[in-house]
């Protein structure tokens, strides 16, 4: 779906991290956790290519007392890293964006009742909030949120409000455990004798570590990948990643934008990447 969204709110939630709420058609409410949108930052040619962002949340505004119509909305959580995200952060309420989505294949929820271990690094938390919202309906959910410093650990309050039990870790020790959040994840798996399944999104190094943990402990692990995307719909073949059996002779490339961004970690090749 392609639509024009009007910005309802655009605020810095932690230094360098912004949360933007915008209007959306009602169809957007069907977005699956892990799906993403491609945002055209402005109608000019700079930047030219759309930028991909996970669906942080969707919902419907119910205007109290005014009698105004309910307004479905979409939220993204983004980190300012370059030109496109820098420009996004300067947009005002009522500015208009051109959005494509929801795109891609999201997370599979897994069986009800089973413990769900969500692992997020920095802005990798973005697509995990909608996931948690869905998982808490039928399962106990634990969040393992990591970052370099406390500024990189986002939206914990929101997750706690869902009833998610949150563990945090920072590399500089400024919040939660000192070190990598994967250590905390392993402690939990150790304690529960590898019960449950893992859902992860974050920097590639973190995903790789999580994939290794999942494989070692035979815990089903889904990861949400990034890739350089021009189209978001399987046409440009820019975003591909390598399947587990990929080799130069027998190449196995997968489209992150359509077959992913969520993959079972075991399907993918992690060595050397």
């Amino acid at each position: 779906m392609q639509f024009k969204a009007m910005i309802l709110d655009n605020a810095e939630v932690s230094p360098g991290y912004w949360r933007m709420r915008m209007t959306a058609p009602a169809e957007m409410l069907a977005a699956r956790p892990g799906q993403f949108v491609m945002v055209r930052v402005n109608p000019s040619i700079d930047p030219l290519i759309r930028r991909p962002f996970g669906v942080f949340d969707v919902g419907t505004l119910q205007p109290a007392y005014t009698g105004a119509a309910p307004q479905p909305y979409l939220e993204i959580l983004y980190r300012v890293v370059g030109k496109g995200t820098g420009m996004l952060s300067t947009l005002h309420d009522n500015d208009i964006l051109d959005i494509l989505g929801p795109l891609g294949t999201g997370f599979e929820n897994g069986p009800a009742g089973e413990e769900k271990l969500i692992v997020g690094g920095g802005v990798g938390l973005a697509p995990l909030y909608l996931l948690a919202k869905e998982l808490v309906k039928d399962s106990p959910v634990r969040l393992f949120a990591g970052g370099r410093t406390k500024d990189d650990v986002l939206c914990i309050t929101e997750f706690e409000r869902l009833g998610v039990e949150c563990y945090t870790a920072t590399e500089d020790g400024s919040l939660g455990e000192c070190g990598l959040v994967t250590k905390v994840l392993e402690q939990r798996l150790e304690a529960t004798a590898n019960k449950g399944q893992i859902f992860a999104c974050g920097p590639h190094g973190m995903l790789k570590a999580v994939a290794v943990i999942g494989a070692k402990r035979s815990v089903k692990t889904q990861v949400s990948l990034e890739g350089y995307m021009a189209c978001g719909m399987g046409a440009c073949l820019g975003c591909v990643c390598q399947g587990a059996e990929h080799s130069t002779e027998n190449p196995d490339y997968r489209c992150v934008c359509t077959e992913g961004p969520v993959f079972e970690a075991a399907e993918l090749k992690w060595e050397g990447n």
């Binding site: 779906m1 392609q2 055209r40 040619i45 700079d46 930047p47 030219l48 290519i49 759309r50 051109d98 494509l100 890739g227 350089y228 995307m229 021009a230 189209c231 719909m233 399987g234 046409a235 440009c236 073949l237 820019g238 975003c239 591909v240 990643c241 190449p251 196995d252 490339y253």
Partner: protein, 304 residues
């Protein structure tokens, strides 16, 4: 009054002059949610080879000022899987599909041409000659008039269908290339493919693309494309298909004035998946507003 928008490329009749460019529109199906395929003139498939090809390692794409570089490495499903998996969709759509293809020897080109010739759902063939000629030490077919002519002649002998040759802009003299291809039997010329470029990641001190160099496309190349279309259209008799940085109906009409009979929309489909349809509609509206009865009257109508 609705302006007449149809044009002809060889024996191929198009309802309007707007096609989508190879490699930017998948095999058509990917965009069917965003574009009413029956509102565009034709679509061109991703370049096909005899065997499936995996393409290059990533990164394969990077944005550049006003454009993008790609080094996909011609990843494609190969002719067999194309017939099995993609052709059924082509059958379901009432819009001509043009098969873009490439090889590494003239024989490979010819074999592909004859196999594509046998597929009724393929309305026309577009030969991509921007590939290294493995037999002649890797020199690119599309930069040497003799090599290009040999490929085109081989394809010509293998197909009765409309044969379009897509020219590389990375040459000193595009007219010489165009004439060589016309002489060897091309029914039409697509002008242009991507310009070779490069991007560097300063902090990592490495090329951004795994392939080091890539093909530059998008609005940045429009002035070069327009110039080459203008040069070629004046020098050949066969129709020219204008390609390069077309983002709007205005851009497309400029190519028509420069001498193109039709246009292809590439990178724009990434920026706006509905681009091709919007451009076709915008062109028709532009003509209607000015009381121009037939798009054909604009082809090569540049004055001065």
């Amino acid at each position: 009054m609705k302006p007449a928008m149809s044009v002809e490329i060889g024996s191929l009749k198009l309802r309007n002059p707007v096609m989508t460019a190879s490699g930017t529109f998948g095999y058509g199906e990917e965009f069917s949610q965003y574009v009413d395929l029956e509102k565009i003139g034709a679509f061109v498939t991703k370049g096909l080879s005899l065997k499936p090809r995996a393409g290059n390692p990533t990164p394969r794409i990077v944005e550049t000022p006003g454009g993008m570089l790609n080094a996909i490495g011609l990843q494609n499903v190969g002719i067999d899987a194309f017939i099995q998996k993609k052709v059924p969709f082509l059958r379901s759509v009432n819009t001509p599909a043009i098969a873009n293809f490439f090889g590494y020897t003239p024989d490979e080109y010819a074999e592909l041409a004859s196999r594509l010739d046998a597929i009724p759902e393929v309305a026309a063939l577009e030969v991509n000659i921007s590939c290294p000629n493995v037999k002649q030490g890797g020199i690119v077919f599309g930069t040497d008039p003799g090599c290009a002519a040999s490929v085109v002649a081989a394809c010509r002998a293998a197909t009765q269908k409309t044969l379009i040759v897509k020219l590389s802009p990375n040459v000193t003299d595009i007219v010489e290339m165009a004439q060589a291809c016309e002489g060897a039997g091309a029914d039409a010329l697509s002008v242009i493919n991507t310009l070779t470029g490069m991007a560097i990641d300063l902090e990592r001190r490495r090329p951004v693309l795994a392939n080091v160099t890539g093909g530059l496309s998008g609005p940045a190349i429009k002035p070069v494309a327009l110039r080459m279309v203008w040069q070629v259209a004046r020098a050949v008799k066969v129709p020219v298909i204008g390609i390069g940085g077309i983002m709007s109906a205005t851009d497309a009409l400029e190519f028509i004035l420069a001498g193109a009979t039709a246009v292809q929309v590439g990178t724009a489909s990434f920026v706006n998946p509905a681009a091709a349809q919007e451009i076709a509609e915008g062109m028709e509206q532009w003509l209607a507003e000015r009381g121009i009865a037939d798009i054909s009257s604009l082809i090569g109508a540049l004055e001065g």
